[in-house]
Symmetry: C2
Subunit: 377 residues, 2 copies
C-alpha cells in the first residue's frame, strides 16, 4: 500500500523523524469506489479519520459531504470549501453552546441519541433535521463500538417523537456497525432495527426519510477485506429486503475506508535487544508508538502491515514497542510480530494502512516527542 508516489516522496525528501505520507490519488480512487458501489447514498466523509486540509479540499471538489465531531471540525470543512448543507454534526455528545455555534455557522443536520440532546437542539438550533442513533451489537468489528453511542430502537422512537413535538424535523435513524467491520450481515441486522423505528413512527404520522448507515467500512491491514462493491451489494440487498419499494434516502460515513489505505508512516528502528540471554523474542523499538499516533494498537486491536528493507530474509517473532518511557507504549506483545532476523538499528520501517486515526490521535508532547508530522501529496 506504499504507492510509488509515496516511495518517491520518501526517497527524494528524506524527512527526518517519524511521519505520515498520504497519497491523494488513493483517496480519490476510494471516493469513486464508494460512489460507484453505493450510487444512491450521499457520502459524508468522517473528518475525524484524517482532517488534513488537502484531503478535505479534494473531497469537496469531488462532491463529498462531511460528518463532523466538533465545531472545530465544522470550521475545517467550511474552510475547505464545503457549504453548510454538506455538513452534519454527527457527534451525539454536544455542549449546547457548541450546537448554537454550529447553527450560527449554518449547520442544520444533527445526531442525537436521547431526549436531553433533542432538547438542546430544539432550544438553540430550531427546525433542524435530527437523526437518532440506534445501538447495534458491533459483532464482527475489529474495533467495536460498545454502548457509548446510541439507544435501543424502542427508545429511538421516543426520542424522534419528542423531536417532532419540539418542532424539529425528525429526519431518520443512524447506526454504526463497528469500525473495520468485515461481516456484511451486520448491516442487515441494523437495517431491520431501522425499519422498525420507521414503522412505529409512521403509524403515528411521523414519516422518517433517511437512514444513516455510518462507517465501519474497513481498510486492508494484514488480511483481505470485502471490496466496496461487495459492501454496496450487501447493503442494497438489505435495504430492499427491509424497505421494499419505499427506499429511504441513505447516507454513509466512511472514514477509515476513505483514507486508511492512502497513508504510510515512515519510522525507524531505534533499538533491538533481548531481556536475557535465553529470551525467545527480540524487542524491536521504533521511533513511533502508541502515543505518537498508533493509538489503535490499543489491546493490539489493529495489526498494521510492516515493511522493512530486509523482508526477503528469514524472520523470527518480535515484541514491537514505541520510544517513550511508558510501559504501556508497546504495540504488539501478546501476538508477536515476525520480522527479519537481519533487521538492524537504524533500518527504516514502513507502517502501512495508517492514513486514518493516526495524526490526530498523536499526543501533543508526551516524553517531549513532537506530534506526528504529515505530508499529503
Amino acid at each position: 500500500m506504499a504507492t510509488q508516489r509515496i516511495m518517491d516522496f520518501l526517497a527524494t525528501r528524506r524527512p527526518e523523524g517519524p511521519c505520515l505520507v498520504v497519497d491523494l490519488d488513493v483517496v480519490h480512487d476510494n471516493y469513486q469506489a464508494f460512489r460507484k458501489a453505493m450510487p444512491n447514498s450521499r457520502v459524508f466523509y468522517a473528518v475525524k479519520a484524517n482532517p488534513a486540509p488537502e484531503i478535505l479540499r479534494l473531497l469537496v471538489s469531488l462532491g463529498s459531504s462531511f460528518d463532523t465531531a466538533s465545531v472545530a471540525e465544522i470550521e475545517m470543512a467550511l474552510d475547505a470549501g464545503a457549504t453548510p448543507d454538506r455538513i452534519s454534526y454527527g457527534n451525539t455528545i454536544k455542549k449546547e453552546r457548541d450546537v448554537a455555534r454550529a447553527y450560527e455557522l449554518g449547520i442544520r443536520l444533527y445526531a442525537v441519541d436521547c431526549i436531553e440532546e433533542v432538547e438542546k437542539i430544539a432550544r438553540v438550533a430550531p427546525g433542524s433535521q435530527v437523526f437518532c442513533r440506534v445501538l447495534t451489537d458491533g459483532a464482527g468489528a475489529e474495533w467495536p463500538l460498545s454502548r457509548k453511542f446510541g439507544c435501543v430502537p424502542a427508545m429511538a422512537v421516543d426520542v424522534l417523537r419528542h423531536a417532532n413535538l419540539l418542532g424539529l424535523d425528525a429526519y431518520g435513524v443512524s447506526f454504526h456497525v463497528g469500525s473495520q467491520q468485515t461481516d456484511l450481515s451486520a448491516w442487515d441486522r441494523a437495517l431491520s432495527d431501522a425499519r422498525m423505528v420507521f414503522g412505529k413512527l409512521a403509524a403515528e404520522g411521523i414519516n422518517l426519510r433517511m437512514v444513516n448507515m455510518g462507517g465501519g467500512f474497513p481498510t486492508r491491514y494484514l488480511r483481505d477485506v470485502p471490496t466496496a462493491q461487495a459492501y454496496g451489494e450487501a447493503i442494497f440487498d438489505a435495504l430492499s429486503k427491509h424497505f421494499g419499494n419505499r427506499m429511504p434516502e441513505t447516507i454513509i460515513e466512511p472514514g477509515r475506508g476513505m483514507v486508511g489505505n492512502a497513508g504510510v508512516i515512515k519510522s525507524e528502528v531505534v533499538l533491538i535487544s533481548r531481556k536475557s540471554d535465553n529470551d525467545e523474542a527480540r524487542w524491536v523499538y521504533l521511533d513511533i508508538g502508541k502515543f505518537g499516533g498508533l493509538a489503535e494498537t490499543m489491546d493490539e486491536a489493529i495489526r498494521y502491515p510492516l515493511v522493512t528493507p530486509r523482508d526477503g530474509d528469514e524472520k523470527a517473532p518480535c515484541v514491537i514497542a514505541g520510544p517513550t518511557c511508558d510501559s504501556a507504549d508497546v504495540l504488539y506483545e501478546k501476538n508477536l510480530y515476525p520480522l527479519p532476523i537481519s533487521l538492524t538499528i537504524g533500518d527504516e520501517v514502513l507502517i502501512e494502512g495508517t492514513g486514518a486515526y493516526t495524526t490526530t490521535y498523536s499526543a501533543v508532547a508526551f516524553n517531549g516527542f513532537e506530534p506526528l508530522k504529515a505530508y499529503v501529496i
Copy 2:
C-alpha cells in the same frame, strides 16, 4: 486535593473548556517531603510527568535534578536553569544521533539496558556515566511496567562490564518498581538484585557506586497511600540490609509523587443519558476523556476522585465517558462510578490528582478538540 488557591483561581478566572490547574505550593511541599524522607538521595524529577516550565523552574530553585526522556526534555530542563550535571538521559531507548546531541548539550549520565545501547553511548558520548536498568516484577503497582525496560540482573552484569570495557564509567544500577507502587517491600526485592550486580562486578574489579531507585512513589487518588516518610524508612532499611556499611549513592526519580496531587482538572458535564428505559446506570459524558489527557484511565487503571457541586446528595452508579466520537473514550464502565442522582448537564466536575501524566498525554487534535490547557499557579 483541590487547594484553596486552585478553587480561588477557578472561581476568579472562570476558564472556558476543560483545563488543568497546578498549585506550585503543593509541588514545593512534595519536594521537601522527599528531601526530608530520603535526605541522602539525589532527587531527579521525572520531567515527563509534567514538563510545565513553571514546575521545572521551581524545582531548579529548590535544588532538584532532572530525569529526562528525550532531547526535547533535556532542553526544557536546561531552559529552566538546570545545569547539565543535574540532568540524566533516563530513557533506555535512544537514537544514536539523540545521544550525540545530548552529549553536545553537556549530558554525561545515561540509562542503558543492553549491549547495543552501551555501544551507541561509547561511540558518541565517550567517557560518560551509565547505569543499567534491571527488570523488576512490578507486583503491587497500579500501572505496572511490564518488561519493556531493563534486563535480567545477570545480563546487567554483562552490560556494565561491556560499558567498562568501552571506556564508559560503569556507574550503577537502576530499577523501577512500577508506577503508583504501594507495596513497600517492592524496593527490598529490587535492592537485593542490585546488590547482586554490585557484588559480581566488584569481584572483577569494577566498582559500581550508584543505585537509581526510580519512581513509583504514589499519589493519593481514592485510597490512602503510604507517606514519603514511610517510603524513606522502608528504602533505608532495605539499603542497610543489602549494602550494610558500604552504602551506594542513591537517586530517586519521583514524577507522579511530585506533581500528581498538585493538579486538578476542571471539566463539565456535557450529557447525561440512558441507553434504554430500564438501563441501570446513567451515562455521564464529560468534556474531557481518554484522548484529552486522561489516558491513564486505560483499562480503568487509575480511578481519579471526582468532585461535583452536588456531592451531598444521594448517589447512584454511572458510566463515565469522554466527549469524542470514539467508543474507546470511556473512562469507567467495568467499575461503575457513583455520582449524585441530582447531577445535571452543565455542572462542573473537578477531577483530582491529575497533575501528572495528563497534559502531555493529551491528543493533539482528536475530533478537533484542542489539547488540554494548563495553568500553573
